[in-house]
């Protein structure tokens, strides 16, 4: 009997469209575009800050408006998606063994959300928002 194994082709670009679980993975991964863009925005802010009041103030003025609001909201959504997906997988990467048991994931995740809320409140306080 002769063997002739058949290799099924896989799309290198469209494989992730084939199943919701892969689309969820991609949605998590593309948050990096928005985090990166925001980092560049902060870099620009620092640059303008270093150039003096006039440069900085016109930069802040340029950041205002509906297009900006839309952009920031988009970044916010992806930043939140990164945060939640990050917290949810932390127990898998860093399991905590206590004796013969492992600390249930929900405590580790819960602790992350608690720190997140506290950190956010602290920032808002120092920013003068609260």
């Amino acid at each position: 009997m002769s063997r002739k194994p058949f290799v099924r082709p896989v799309s290198k670009t469209g494989w992730w469209l084939k199943h919701p679980r892969y689309m969820r993975y991609m949605s998590r991964e593309v948050t990096c575009v928005f985090i990166g863009a925001f980092a560049l925005l902060m870099l620009c802010t620092v640059e303008r800050l270093s150039k003096g009041q006039a440069a900085y103030d016109s930069f802040i003025a340029a950041l205002q408006g509906p297009l900006s609001i839309f952009g920031m909201l988009l970044v916010l959504i992806f930043a939140l998606h990164n945060a939640t997906s990050w917290f949810n997988v932390t127990p898998k990467a860093l399991p905590v063994q206590i004796g013969e048991e492992f600390l249930a994931g929900k405590y580790i995740i819960g602790a992350h959300y608690a720190v997140w809320i506290v950190a956010s409140l602290v920032v808002l306080f120092f920013a003068g928002v609260l």
Binding site: R3, V10, R21, Y22, V89, L94
Partner: protein
């Protein structure tokens, strides 16, 4: 005797005869099944009453041997673990994804077996003991450190689910790396450095991007995705020790 509830089940099975076909094609079957059956039972009924030429692997029929993995409606599943009551309409049955098709639902598993072997999946004792010196002892807490990862039944569903394995066939893959981690975590073992040479490579754990599909399809809750992230953390600490500490890792 109570009447067993019956149901006509339609299957669409991917066929491939290497001696006759240039490529695989679907074949439809309709077979009477008991309501509580699994897809494997339906395949057996097909083979028994309709088409004896249908080829597929199976053995224990209770999700412990890992033989009967196949794609059922596009999802990697053990056919003995896929209950007909969870499926409506035509059930599409294909061989496990990301492996070459040998014939019908039988895949070529050689790549998987090779990779299992490469990670040295056996105890390399820290201190060798003769039989006279007695057993290697281990506390329950030490056992729990790796026990979950020892539950793998080598069913290859994780390889079928992993898109990185689909895109890069050289990737060692979830089960093989999890198996290496199982031994690395074993208090009796001293072979971690040897295994790191195999798994801390670009085709080892670093091809993994934590899609997590492997853990989602694993029938034994081994959580290979978790194991691989733990290997990444350990390998990263190794890297820093080797590159930053004077004298390297030793």
């Amino acid at each position: 005797m109570t009447q067993l509830k019956k149901r006509m089940v339609q299957l669409e099975v991917l066929r491939y005869d290497p001696e006759k076909d240039s490529e695989p094609h679907f074949q439809k079957y309709e077979v009477e099944c008991n309501e509580e059956w699994v897809v494997l039972d339906a395949l057996n009924a097909v083979k028994e009453s309709l088409d004896p030429t249908l080829a597929y692997r199976w053995s224990c029929h209770m999700a412990v041997c890992g033989s009967c993995g196949m794609m059922i409606n596009g999802e990697p599943k053990l056919s003995c673990h896929a209950f007909l009551r969870n499926y409506d309409g035509v059930i599409r049955v294909e061989p496990l994804a990301n492996f070459p098709i040998e014939r019908d639902l039988v895949t070529v598993a050689d790549d998987f077996i090779d990779k299992l072997k490469r990670v040295k999946p056996y105890l390399i004792p820290k201190e060798k003991k003769t039989i006279a010196e007695g057993e290697y002892k281990q506390t329950p807490a030490q056992l729990m450190k790796y026990r979950q990862f020892s539950m793998c039944i080598n069913c290859m569903l994780c390889y079928a689910a992993c898109p990185e394995y689909a895109l890069q066939p050289k990737f060692l893959g979830p089960a093989a790396i999890t198996l290496a981690h199982r031994y690395n975590q074993d208090s009796r073992d001293g072979g971690r450095d040897e295994r790191q040479e195999v798994i801390a490579t670009n085709e080892g754990v670093w091809e993994c991007s934590f899609v997590g599909a492997c853990s989602e399809v694993c029938p034994k809750a081994v959580d290979p995705a978790g194991a691989l992230q733990q290997v990444k953390v350990a390998s990263t600490l190794d890297w820093f020790k080797e590159h930053l500490l004077p004298g390297g890792s030793k």
